[in-house]
């Protein structure tokens, strides 16, 4: 079975379990925190993926790092994943959890790339607009890319709304070549 299927299964199970215990909110917050902190620490990823380090050691490491920072349920889940020999895909499970949670909450990430920084007013306007288009709560992340020449692009899921000068020049070029 592909790791995609497995991580989906673990993520969904945790979500249901947390829901039954009325801890969904807390566990979800934990998961976001976990994704962040694991991504930041390359060593931890290497340790989790390493087959040489034995299970008890990994148990200890996980306990040491997260014991006082996450809910008891979350910690138990981490240890359970380790016990089932799935600690190598722990990060994928966490990512998948956060994805599924976002879909449930009708939230969506929007990657906005522009040449210059937007003002707060512009940002609000854009977000309101994107919300209207996608009918979802937008979680924006802004970045700068000067190769766009002008304008901006927005990426929501797989769909790109491209109003950059770079794209328009490309289109113009295509049109000229065609005729």
């Amino acid at each position: 079975m592909s790791s995609f299927n497995i991580s989906t299964r673990y993520a969904k199970a945790l979500m249901e379990f947390a829901d039954v215990r009325n801890l969904l909110e807390q566990v979800s917050n934990d998961m976001i925190m976990l994704e962040d902190s694991i991504l930041k620490s390359k060593e931890l990823i290497v340790v989790l993926r390493s087959p040489i380090i034995n299970k008890d050691k990994k148990d200890l490491i996980l306990k040491e790092i997260f014991a006082n920072k996450v809910e008891k349920v979350t910690l138990e889940f981490l240890l359970f994943v380790n016990k089932k020999n799935r600690e190598n895909i722990l990060l994928e499970i966490i990512k998948r959890y956060n994805e599924i949670r976002k879909i449930k909450l009708n939230r969506v990430d929007a990657k906005i790339v522009s040449v210059i920084d937007f003002s707060d007013e512009q940002k609000n306007l854009l977000q309101a607009h994107l919300k209207e288009i996608s009918d979802k709560t937008i979680i924006p992340s802004y970045s700068i890319d000067e190769t766009l020449i002008g304008g901006f692009t927005v990426k929501i899921n797989d769909t790109v709304i491209d109003s950059s000068i770079k794209q328009q020049l490309k289109k113009l070029r295509k049109n000229l070549v065609k005729n």
Partner: protein, 516 residues
């Protein structure tokens, strides 16, 4: 000196570039996860369709073949070296399609419809998807019009009708392509004024070359041009050096172009040269896409690959315009082994096969058709009446000849009847020999077959048969051209024509000088 004002220039530029809208563009993208061997795995592209074209960087196009849970498998139509991990892939919202239109005639293109003959861009009418469902039962009718190949042996014994699928099968170097090319060249006469008067509708041809040497294809194109056949022919070439995915889609592209003519109520002939190489290309990309291998390592759906292609050949009924699409697939066998996987598949799909044999080819019998195992399952209905009448006993005579051929060396020790069968057979075989690129009109075919089957050649020495046939036809053309005109127009062999043929043949025989 005339002056050009700058604002005039900008006005013209603006005018020329009008219609170019600068609205924001919305498209779907994915990211390349893995690339190599002409295959790319892409993450994202969540709404992509199977067999949709996708755009990679550096002008490389790809086609989606696998939709998996977390990724999409694409085949690349360009070099995979130009693509790297993490590249952005764009949807085009267009299924893999082929440009169609009369402007395609006379051109050499690749399977995506891009010209490769250096004659500039093509003003096509429309794009049609290369994968289309074959038409259903209600829109079809049985094959009723002949598709003359100009090869006497084929037109007399293995007749092909418009809308039929006739397989040409044989080892390498047995003249498979030659049969197909002759058939294309012979369609030239359907485009003449004379054919129009006789109610014969023009046939447009598509020659699909799959996995062949580009030099061979260039030769074929040159030959077609030399015989004036390129005017109504499109050559779709995916040579041996093109990526396997392009070789795989080439026949479907050819079928699409053929269907364009068929759906207009016209007639098309598509030659797939050859489908064994297409199967090999499909095997390659299937294995790279990690589909499980089956017999001879071909994937499980290799039968469907060919059946859905050949099923698109059809003769439409009159309410649909009466157009037709005839398919001449070619299969190369190894050492005459027709029981290999792909040959048996295609034999079972087609409406008959023309079997070419190296032993016949080497014995100088060309076209090297093995009449015994070559069949046409539906073409008989399409044969003109005159030909049906004269060719009736031809196959039987030849079969009897082959049965007794082994005894030929006993010569005069044999009884009279056997000797007669042998001498008749040897003359018929000689009669059916025909040079390459020299198609014969159907009325002349009827006359020569008549000579053979009626025993009018029995006294002529075998080595003089070809000369006798040729000279007799020339003689008849000068003396009684009405015979040919009447066969061409009436398509039947009336008693008066039979009598006139007999008397003329007798007359000519008396004048004929047997060579020393």
């Amino acid at each position: 000196m005339a002056e050009v004002k700058p604002d005039e220039i900008s006005a013209i530029l603006r005018q020329q570039l009008a219609g170019f809208d600068n609205e924001a563009e919305i498209y779907d993208v994915g990211t390349v996860l893995q690339v190599g061997d002409g295959i790319a795995r892409v993450y994202g592209l969540s709404k992509v369709m199977v067999s949709e074209l996708v755009e990679f960087p550096n002008n490389v196009m790809g086609m989606v073949l696998n939709l998996d849970e977390d990724s999409v498998g694409c085949v690349l139509f360009g070099e995979s070296q130009l693509i790297k991990e993490g590249d952005t892939v764009k949807r085009t919202n267009r299924l893999a399609s082929f440009p169609v239109g009369n402007a395609m005639l006379g051109r050499v293109v690749n399977p995506l419809g891009e010209p490769i003959d250096g004659k500039g861009s093509i003003q096509h009418d429309a794009f049609m998807p290369i994968e289309r469902k074959a038409l259903g039962v209600v829109t079809r009718q049985s094959v009723s019009e002949p598709l003359q190949t100009g090869i006497t042996a084929v037109d007399a014994m293995i007749p092909i009708g418009r809308g039929q699928r006739e397989l040409i099968i044989g080892d390498r170097q047995t003249g498979k392509t030659a049969v197909a090319i002759d058939a294309i060249i012979n369609q030239k006469q359907t485009h003449t004024q004379e054919a129009k008067e006789n109610g014969i509708e023009p046939v447009f041809c598509v020659y699909v070359a799959i996995g062949q040497k580009d030099s061979t294809v260039a030769q074929v194109v040159a030959k077609l041009e030399e015989h004036g056949a390129m005017e109504f022919t499109t050559v779709i070439n995916s040579g041996a050096s093109t990526p396997a995915p392009l070789q795989y889609i080439a026949p479907y592209a050819g079928a699409t172009l053929g269907e364009y003519f068929r759906d207009k109520g016209q007639h098309a002939l598509v030659v797939y040269d050859d489908l064994s190489k297409q199967a090999v290309a499909y095997r390659e990309l299937s294995l790279l896409l990690r589909r499980p291998p089956g017999r001879e390592a071909y994937p499980g759906d290799v039968f469907y690959v060919h059946s859905r292609l050949l099923e698109r050949a059809s003769k439409l009924n009159d309410s649909m315009g009466g157009g037709s699409l005839t398919a001449l697939p070619i299969i190369e066998t190894q050492q005459g082994d027709v029981s290999a996987y792909i040959p048996t598949n295609v034999i079972s799909i087609t409406d008959g096969q023309i079997y070419l044999e190296p032993s016949l080819f080497n014995a100088g019998i060309r076209p090297a058709i093995n009449v015994g195992i070559s069949v046409s399952r539906v073409g008989g209905n399409a044969q003109i009446k005159a030909m049906k009448k004269v060719a009736g006993s031809l196959k039987l005579d030849l079969a009897q000849y082959r049965e007794l051929e082994a005894f030929a060396k006993f010569g005069s020790d044999l009884d009279k009847a056997t000797q007669r069968t042998l001498s008749r057979g040897a003359r018929l075989v000689e009669l059916l020999k025909q040079g390459q690129y020299s198609p014969i009109k159907v009325e002349k075919q009827v006359v020569s077959v008549f000579l053979g089957t009626q025993g009018l050649l029995d006294e002529i020495p075998v080595k003089d048969i070809k000369r006798f046939e040729q000279e007799f036809i020339e003689y008849l053309e000068l003396k009684e051209n009405d015979v040919f005109v009447s066969i061409r127009k009436e398509k039947v062999l009336s008693d008066s024509i039979v009598n006139s043929l007999r008397t003329n043949a007798q007359e000519f025989k008396n004048k004929f000088q047997v060579s020393e």
